[in-house]
Point group: D2
Chain length 133, copies 4
């Protein structure tokens, strides 16, 4: 499991006083990028140097509580599934009392650059992901 600690900023919130529902996806992706970097497979490398792209084809979120301005929270990322040409991630937002606030899932497909066709997960990426299942 990959864990990040963060805090709700004003830009994350909306006029209802809570973290705006769409911003969970932005924050999850920020975490995803930190995760990719931690497994030495940075998004920058993927986009600018590798011969694949990792596309998000599906995502979903369940909102159980809300987060208010200034509140500390934890984002835990783990690998849910690893397929031939895809993988699924699970993101759990917890408040400072370890209460689940929201859970996000993302499904990622690796495609060849240019042709945009699904290709097998690169060996190295698969190995690294396996460590976080």
């Amino acid at each position: 499991m990959f864990t990040l600690n963060s805090q709700v900023k004003l830009a994350d919130t909306d006029a209802a006083g809570i973290l705006f529902y769409a911003n969970y996806f932005r924050l999850a992706h920020d975490g995803y990028e930190s995760f990719l970097e931690a497994i030495d497979y940075s998004l920058n490398y993927v986009i600018n140097e590798s011969d694949i792209l990792i596309l998000i084809v599906h995502t979903e979120a369940d909102y159980k509580q809300s987060l208010r301005l200034g509140v500390n929270y934890t984002l835990q990322i783990k690998v849910d599934k690893i397929g031939k040409t895809s993988f699924a991630l699970n993101y759990r937002f917890e408040d400072s009392n370890s209460q689940i606030v929201a859970v996000i899932k993302t499904i990622h497909v690796t495609v060849s650059k240019g042709k945009n066709k699904p290709v097998k997960l690169p060996e190295k990426l698969r190995d690294k992901l396996t460590q976080y299942t």
Copy 2:
């Protein structure tokens, strides 16, 4: 069906050159607010004047294509389901060739302000939603 025409702005895009996955949720919500206003049940009224809140408890998205900077697209919103204390919306993003780019679903629960307990959909809201099923 409620339809909006729009265009991909630079702020919507990311370094991959396409509309960032989380921004579909922001744009869907923008559309949802226009829809609520069209049925005379504005979010501003809900948050500041009514005795209920309409919470998003679940959302999901399927991404089928991508949208690039400057591209025109259509957002179509319709009501998927109406329950006792909840309703579900469907948002379809189509490019200018009527190709589906992305589909989003949101599930909304009406709760009493303060207590945060599910309450029956207000009659008027239910009636209006019914017109868009």
Copy 3:
């Protein structure tokens, strides 16, 4: 003068209940893109087809009032100055009572792609901008 009518969306606001200060710049840029398209010089064309880039080198904002969720506002854009290799735009946000809410300025420099050196404003762009001074 180039004018757009819009409405404050939930995603624009923050926990203080008002349009978040940084979002004025996003909305101004959305307007700038519509303006560029109106003068047949779309940002998409600039980024992907022309041999120049138009860089923002300076921006500033004065906030005089605030805008709340659901409020209608007008964004008026005009050209402040046209230089040899640069131009300045002025954006005025007005509420529905024609009260000035915020004023933004942006200074844009045209540079050659690759070398990133200032180059003369393309004739056509200069001509079009002149119509909005």
Copy 4:
């Protein structure tokens, strides 16, 4: 001086491949909130508990370089000026080679809640700010 280390995330960038000009203001404000917390005067306290609000009445940015996806940068915040009812902050974004990327200024006015009239900076806030001039 208050210093934060960060990294450019995909959500910060745009189709030009660089950190979107408006997002510097979001990131500066994120830093401002961390700064306020560091001086024990959190924005959450200000908005929800104190009898003042701290309004941003002016901001400006100079962009000297750009920041690309995945790049590490430093944000340095210092207090530029302290007035009777206002203060000014300076934010300097530097890349990993200590090159200045962008400089932002914000001017903040303390007003009474409700009446929205300028009031003297609270003693404690003034004292803390003084330590960062």
